[in-house]
């Protein structure tokens, strides 16, 4: 087990290269630990694949020139990958990796990885003993993967907590996107393929506190009209607001939780019904029809006992066709499927020969659905 060691200096000490290297190394290690333990690795800014329409002068075929925009990512070892300016992807580099593949419409992954180089700007670099370089450029390389290599991204394992900063050849792939290739030319770009998309840098924090009195979360770096935002405000009175940005930059509330617990929603509300609630529906149904459940109650809730249903039916007895006819309901109920069972029996002693007949009937129904109490209430 090795704990971080901080260089210390004193008057009269002869400084060796190792002492200065330890100074830099201590700071690098601290920064790397911060990046990988307090943040989730991924693209921090920029690094999008942009397209520019082009035409092949030899064949007249349309294609796109693909450029990686400037930006920065943090890899899983805690290294910063800085791309200071746009980089045009070379089709020849792609062909060197995948040129032998059969033509396919499947998109190929494009990765960013760290690379260390010796700066060529000699004027800024002093030479050390034996001509060794005294500067290291923390550069990058853009790699074309083979089909399916995007799955390697999730398999990468971060270094242990106490490990020193990773240096090449330790490689960590950051997925930048995908390119589609037709007849040797790039023809399209994508951000997701085969279920694997881009990964952006995140924050690991159990507490996030604001200094202005309001904490805002949004889905885009910049404020955009129509995009959602969540605002926890400590102003008087405190509130939690979910809403959409307006053109003015303010958030138009769709849902507001006030300090007294009141919830205000601009739309309709649906969800689980609290225990003891009673929902009702009523109407009229003919024999054989299914009596519906009240709105908001599902058959699954009834089947598993979360909701108990009570159905009351009253048979409708129409006026008899003649003054002497008798008409009585012989059945008026619902079965276990809530199917109406209603029959009317008719008899007219004045008709010769007297005859008893039965006809389907109709019921007026009232359905009460009670949400059963569960352990701990609901």
């Amino acid at each position: 087990m090795t704990v971080p060691v901080r260089p210390a200096f004193h008057e009269g000490q002869v400084l060796a290269a190792a002492d200065l290297a330890a100074t830099v190394g201590h700071a690098r290690a601290a920064a790397a630990r911060h990046a990988r333990l307090l943040h989730d690795w991924g693209i921090a800014d920029g690094l999008g694949l942009t397209e520019e329409n082009r035409t092949d002068p030899a064949t007249g075929a349309w294609f796109v020139e693909v450029t990686v925009s400037a930006g920065m990512a943090v890899d899983g070892t805690g290294r910063e990958l800085v791309v200071p300016g746009p980089v045009v992807l070379a089709e020849a580099d792609f062909a060197a990796v995948n040129g032998a593949d059969q033509p396919t419409v499947e998109p190929y992954p494009v990765f960013l990885a760290a690379a260390e180089r010796t700066p060529s700007t000699a004027g800024l670099v002093s030479c050390g003993v034996n001509g060794e370089p005294t500067r290291v450029a923390e550069s990058f390389q853009i790699l074309f993967g083979r089909l399916g290599d995007e799955l390697l991204v999730a398999e990468q394992q971060p270094p242990a907590v106490g490990d020193p900063p990773a240096d090449p050849p330790i490689r960590w792939l950051v997925l930048l996107g995908y390119i589609q290739v037709t007849d040797g030319h790039f023809t399209d770009t994508r951000t997701t393929a085969r279920g694997v998309g881009l990964r952006h840098a995140g924050v690991r924090a159990d507490t996030v506190s604001a200094r202005s009195g309001a904490l805002t979360m949004r889905t885009q770096p910049a404020v955009q009209e129509g995009q959602p935002a969540l605002v926890l405000s400590g102003e008087d009175p405190p509130s939690l607001v979910f809403g959409l940005y307006q053109g003015s930059g303010s958030v138009s509330p769709l849902m507001t939780m006030a300090a007294n617990g009141n919830l205000t929603v601009a739309g309709s509300f649906s969800g689980r019904i609290s225990a003891g609630s009673v929902l009702a529906t009523s109407g009229t149904a003919t024999d054989g029809m299914l009596v519906p459940l009240p709105s908001g109650v599902s058959q699954e809730e009834v089947a598993d006992g979360r909701v108990v249903v009570h159905v009351y039916v009253t048979p409708r007895v129409p006026a008899p066709a003649t003054d002497t006819a008798l008409q009585v309901p012989v059945e008026a109920t619902v079965d276990s499927d809530r199917r109406v069972r209603c029959r009317l029996r008719r008899f007219d002693p004045a008709v010769s020969p007297p005859e008893v007949s039965e006809q389907p009937g109709t019921v007026d129904f009232l359905v009460l659905a009670t949400v059963a109490a569960t352990n701990g209430g609901g």
Binding site: T281, S282, G283, T284, A285, T286, G288, P292, R339, T362
Partner: protein, 176 residues
């Protein structure tokens, strides 16, 4: 409301207080709509109209349909792209009191008046024990009677007869 698109007959009705009834046949009737016919002697025949034979309709208010749904029909008109649209206003169909009977060839279905301008669709369900025979036929232009081939045992059978343009009939018919 659920109706049989083949003949236009309403076979079941559901009205909710202050709300629209579901527009899904499966929700309205489940896999089938059972129509029961008393055969006498405490026996009851069940004739099942499968859900695929039915269609839902949000019909205009018609209190009479709850008293006798089979007495009402749905007018269907041709829509664009060979579709058929059902009008929401229900039609009261004329009753037919002609005798239903079995002969040696099948079920004889008659109407009081022949349609002189076009063929008339006929659909009948006949109970046979736990089974239901589904019979389809046509009253040819100008004809008042058609025999729908079916073989059943002697005795009472539950019968549903739907002749397009005439009130539906749900009653026991005895084969001699």
């Amino acid at each position: 409301m659920v109706y049989v698109p083949d003949t236009g007959h309403v076979v079941g009705a559901l009205g909710l207080t202050g709300a629209q009834a579901p527009a899904d046949v499966g929700v309205l009737v489940g896999p089938a709509l059972p129509l029961r016919v008393a055969l006498g002697g405490g026996e009851t025949a069940v004739l099942s109209l499968r859900d695929r034979q039915l269609a839902p309709l949000a019909a205009d208010d018609e209190p009479g349909v709850f008293t006798d749904p089979l007495a009402f029909g749905v007018e269907q008109v041709a829509g664009p792209d060979s579709t058929v649209a059902a009008k929401p206003t229900l039609l009261r169909l004329p009753p037919s009191s002609t005798q239903l009977e079995f002969n040696t060839d099948g079920l004889v279905v008659s109407v009081p008046l022949a349609n002189a301008s076009q063929d008339t669709t006929v659909l009948a369900l006949v109970s046979a024990g736990d089974e239901t025979h589904v019979l389809a036929g046509v009253l040819a232009e100008g004809q008042k009677s058609v025999t729908l081939p079916v073989t059943v045992d002697s005795g009472p059978h539950g019968v549903l007869v739907l002749v397009a343009g005439w009130a539906g009939r749900l009653e026991p018919v005895t084969k001699q």
